[in-house]
Symmetry: C2
Subunit: 321 residues, 2 copies
Amino acid sequence: MAIRPADQIVHKAAWLYYAHGLRQDQVAQQLNISRASVAMYLRKARETGIVNISTSTQLFTDDVMARQIEDAFGLDAVWIAPHGDHVDPAAEVPVLASGVFLELVRKGDKIGVAWGQTVYAIADVMSYADLQDVTVVQLCGNLGAPFAYRPDQCTMEIARRLNAKGLNFYAPLVLSTEALAEQLRNEPVIREQLAGISDCDLALYSIGTIDADSHVVKCGALTASEMDALRQEGAAGVVAGQIIDRDGAMLDCGYNRRCISADLDSLRAIPKRLVVVQEPNKFEPLLAGLAGGLCTHLVTNAAMATRLLDHAKASARGKAS
Amino acid sequence: MAIRPADQIVHKAAWLYYAHGLRQDQVAQQLNISRASVAMYLRKARETGIVNISTSTQLFTDDVMARQIEDAFGLDAVWIAPHGDHVDPAAEVPVLASGVFLELVRKGDKIGVAWGQTVYAIADVMSYADLQDVTVVQLCGNLGAPFAYRPDQCTMEIARRLNAKGLNFYAPLVLSTEALAEQLRNEPVIREQLAGISDCDLALYSIGTIDADSHVVKCGALTASEMDALRQEGAAGVVAGQIIDRDGAMLDCGYNRRCISADLDSLRAIPKRLVVVQEPNKFEPLLAGLAGGLCTHLVTNAAMATRLLDHAKASARGKAS
DNA sequence: TCGGCAAATTGACTTTTGTCAGCCGTCATG
DNA sequence: CATGACGGCTGACAAAAGTCAATTTGCCGA
């Protein structure tokens, strides 16, 4: 909580430069150090969240399509990244999502974070902030797989960026038997953590696909053929490591019963549920998530937005006829 | 609410530069404009709060004196500006106060603002923000005096800086008779506004002195000799244009009864009450305000902090003996 | 007390950003 | 239809910020 003596100078430099608007050479003079050091301290200040630079994301909500999707699916807010007509189209959605995320976070909040490539990409471009009284909790159990986007990695990276407390989940995501999963869920430590999920203020997740490329398959929680079987049984998407059906309800299957993760009611109890979807093949999973009320705030790209609207119009016509 | 077409380009430039980290020439290329225009748009973005740059004020709370004052006076948080060993010592407290103010404001808040040179100085150095759903309300009636720090000016300037809604108080601060003041207070428009003060989330004020230099004297609400008489009667400070005694209670006097302003209970109902005091001669008034529980968050300078602590220690000894 | 080593600091150079006079298109006016 | 005023945009230059190799500082163990 207290400022380390070594950081004192960083705070001072940042204050003189950003709050008072002095030039770097003036700051250097004030603090009796070289201008090069000032430049270094200022970079450090930005990188550690002592200084915060945020850009309004209004540009992306202020859009007819975004409004139409809000209305069609009853969402609180929708952000649409335009077609990647610029340098790095793949980065657009994560950068936007991280901006939106930081706009939604409040001091003292408890934030639930799931996992996946999308979530990790967001963490990776997120700018640093000084939110020491924020807690970031992992929404589901862990996987041993050596991927950067594992649940614990996602949680910790976001906590690190925010200078927040990170609360990891020390249990596997999926166990070999239902009985063991049940026992573990009843362990006080685990039970407490699961129970605490519903009093998060904000949740961040993407929705996974039901195919061989799914992160649950890549990380070894399910085999490609098991996944295939689940699709036959009505699986439509993955939320926090669990399989949901087309209506966004938990699929009644052995895999889910062997999972240790946030149950969907707990997720729905979180007031702000930020869902970020980028890849085109996540259309069906996203529809399932929307149907299940798992999303209040949505960040996606223009292509996906168009498909969502087309779908909404089609089903509206379907009902009318 | 919607972005003006002319501002679209400002948003885009700000997004590419600050969120994606492109250089100005790359942004210029993206948007097919000259780099000079990009530089201009970026300045505009900073000046209108599309981009927000904020610096942690932790340096100034993270201080033994600040902690001691918190404890001694039971405050939620205290910030102390160090001795003016740098370029513009007079600006230090207002700059700090505006930083603290912006840290305390939340989206959707209703903010009460009083008036005076200190408050106006804060407004004047405050950086721009994009808080469109914030409401800034004037805590007391108006004065005709041609000073920039009039109640309505303070309110409007802060509202302008935040891009917030400003709600002015269309009544004089002080009337010639008690009867007229009472009648006016009962006018529905005025009554409503006064009643609404207690559901502010945050208040900002300084505490005025009881002397010929007081802003209420300069603005003609009281003459110097009237002020002198009030001091004999126990006046110790001025809050939102009204006179308080040494205990921070409303002084029972004709002037106060002729005032149209927030009553002290309404102020105390506001959860965050940010008091900013800079001038040495405001020591007694500040003590009165603290005694009356009119302050939860305090911004001041090192000299004042020392005096406060000395006073607290002295009265602790007094009680002990 | 003295090397030896890592971390912090700096001077000099390069790149990026800020600025402003002048230009160009637009629009209202005579 | 010419004119002039105005606001926004740009090119070219000046100022400021970023970078990095070289140097200094502080610190540890011998």
